[in-house]
């Protein structure tokens, strides 16, 4: 914690989280202003900065009350209102949007003040007239209580700030990726076909998987080399059936526009290429 900061409000018996750790509030004539004012005089140059050090009108009001060691239940409304409005006037000059909350509070203070000046109407209950300051007092006390609670929460040991969690390594077995059996694959295929069957516009054709497999194989070869001699795609050692299927695969590729056959002249070598731009 920063100790160079004057924790002014604390002396009024209320721990103040924010004031205790303010960075220098401002520089006045080159000197850092690190403390809240000891009395109600704030150098005008520092006023806005000081006000920004408060969390709002309740905070400021509490400060003024505690600073003057006033009984919060017996707020001298006249003095307080005057001082308060002096602060707000100065604040307004610079940051109007910041002043809105404060202006509202000033209006409330003036309202209370004016009601206290009026003769009290006879009370219906036997508990005496309502003190116009009661609502303000209630709010001030509630806020003060939460302000103190904030400080106490902040004082609790906090993970990452005051202690670290233990986390030794554990190489969990990677969850196995989903498995697929060929039976499942067939089931999926079957359901697709069943659905397709429902669509009458689908024509059903019949092909062998081996042709499809060789189409993929030939495409891979073409992807690697870009162009292959037709004859290079066959290996006599594979046997006749294999050659025939390869041949069919090439024809199917050409038919589907996935490959092209070129031959510059009769009897010249035939080349199998990928289509332009592919």
């Amino acid at each position: 914690m920063h100790t160079e900061v004057d924790t002014e409000p604390v002396e009024a018996g209320v721990a103040d989280a924010g004031a205790a750790e303010l960075p220098p509030l401002a520089r006045l004539y080159g000197e850092p202003v690190t403390s809240l004012p000891r009395d109600l005089f704030i150098p005008p140059e520092a006023l806005e900065v000081v006000l920004q050090a408060f969390e709002g009108p309740l905070d400021l009001l509490l400060y003024l009350i505690r600073k003057q060691n006033l009984d919060i239940l017996d707020i001298p409304m006249a003095d307080l209102t005057r001082q308060y409005i002096a602060y707000i006037d100065a604040l307004q000059a610079g940051r109007l949007e910041l002043a809105a909350d404060y202006l509202l509070m000033a209006a409330m203070l003036i309202d209370i003040k004016s009601r206290m000046l009026l003769p009290q109407p006879p009370s219906a209950s036997d508990e005496g007239p309502e003190d116009p300051r009661a609502e303000l007092v209630r709010r001030l006390l509630e806020y003060e209580q939460m302000r103190a609670a904030a400080t106490r929460i902040d004082a609790l040991p906090q993970a990452g700030r005051d202690f670290e969690w233990v986390q030794a390594a554990f190489e969990a077995s990677a969850p196995p990726p989903p498995g697929v059996s060929s039976a499942e694959l067939m089931d999926a295929w079957r359901s697709i076909l069943a659905r397709a069957r429902a669509n009458t516009h689908h024509r059903i054709s019949r092909e062998t998987l081996s042709v499809r497999e060789h189409m993929t194989r030939v495409l891979r070869l073409l992807r690697e080399m870009g162009m292959r001699r037709f004859t290079e795609l066959f290996d006599a050692a594979d046997g006749v059936p294999h050659l025939v299927v390869t041949f069919l695969a090439i024809l199917e590729l050409v038919r589907e526009g996935l490959a092209r056959l070129t031959q510059t002249e009769a009897l010249a070598p035939i080349y199998v290429t990928l289509p332009d731009g592919a």
């Binding site: 969390e55 709010r139 902040d154 993970a159 202690f163 969690w165």
Partner: protein, 212 residues
């Protein structure tokens, strides 16, 4: 692997220890029972946990029970050294964040408007975001009033990160009753009095005492 039923207590302790040392979050007893395929009773697991905590009593790391379960953490007195490994100190939260957090913690579930009423100033969105991003605050519902504002509450993680087992372990609110007893105005009742009892611990944490 062997049937858990055949485990010796020493083995069970080893397994518990390994699980807790490697866990990335607090482990509740129910999760720890899973380690043994539920062959050990919750009672037994709790006894083992106590034993484990005992065994670590003198170590730089301690086993603690939190809202979310059990977890090992370094003792706070180790922090000055551990901080040296960090590139930067963790930032402290601003007053706005802390006050908002306190109001959410003690008044939950609460809307942003209600927080603003207590603080007397607008609550900037980044303030709420900061708390949500930390995983300390979340929306638990919406108040049935125009605009359907979200109701904010603290999370289990908030308790875990502050080393608490439940909201009842939050610091007791400062009592203001002494000063307030003097107040002559009985009409000015506080809202909290009429609210249902705080399920997290009416005794310690209702504000009624503070604001009569």
């Amino acid at each position: 692997m062997d049937d858990s039923a055949e485990l010796s207590p020493a083995q069970a302790l080893r397994i518990l220890e390994a699980a807790l040392l490697t866990a990335s979050e607090p482990l509740p007893v129910a999760a720890l029972r899973q380690l043994f395929d539920d062959t050990l009773s919750a009672e037994t697991v709790r006894r083992l946990l106590d034993e484990l905590r005992e065994a670590w009593a003198e170590r730089p790391v301690e086993l603690v029970q939190l809202a979310g379960g059990w977890r090992f953490r370094a003792r706070t007195e180790m922090q000055p050294w551990l901080d040296r490994l960090k590139a930067e100190r963790p930032a402290r939260y601003s007053r706005a964040v802390l006050e908002t957090l306190a109001i959410i913690a003690y008044r939950q579930p609460v809307t942003r408007g209600e927080i603003e009423e207590i603080r007397g100033v607008a609550v900037a969105t980044p303030v709420i975001r900061t708390l949500e991003a930390r995983g300390w605050v979340e929306t638990v519902g919406f108040r049935d009033v125009p605009g359907k504002p979200s109701l904010l509450a603290t999370t289990r993680r908030f308790l875990d990160d502050l080393g608490l087992r439940s909201l009842t372990e939050l610091p007791t609110l400062t009592g203001l009753e002494q000063t307030l007893q003097l107040e002559h105005d009985p009409v000015e009742h506080d809202r909290a009095d009429n609210e249902p009892a705080n399920p997290y611990g009416p005794q310690e944490h209702t504000l009624s005492s503070a604001r009569q």
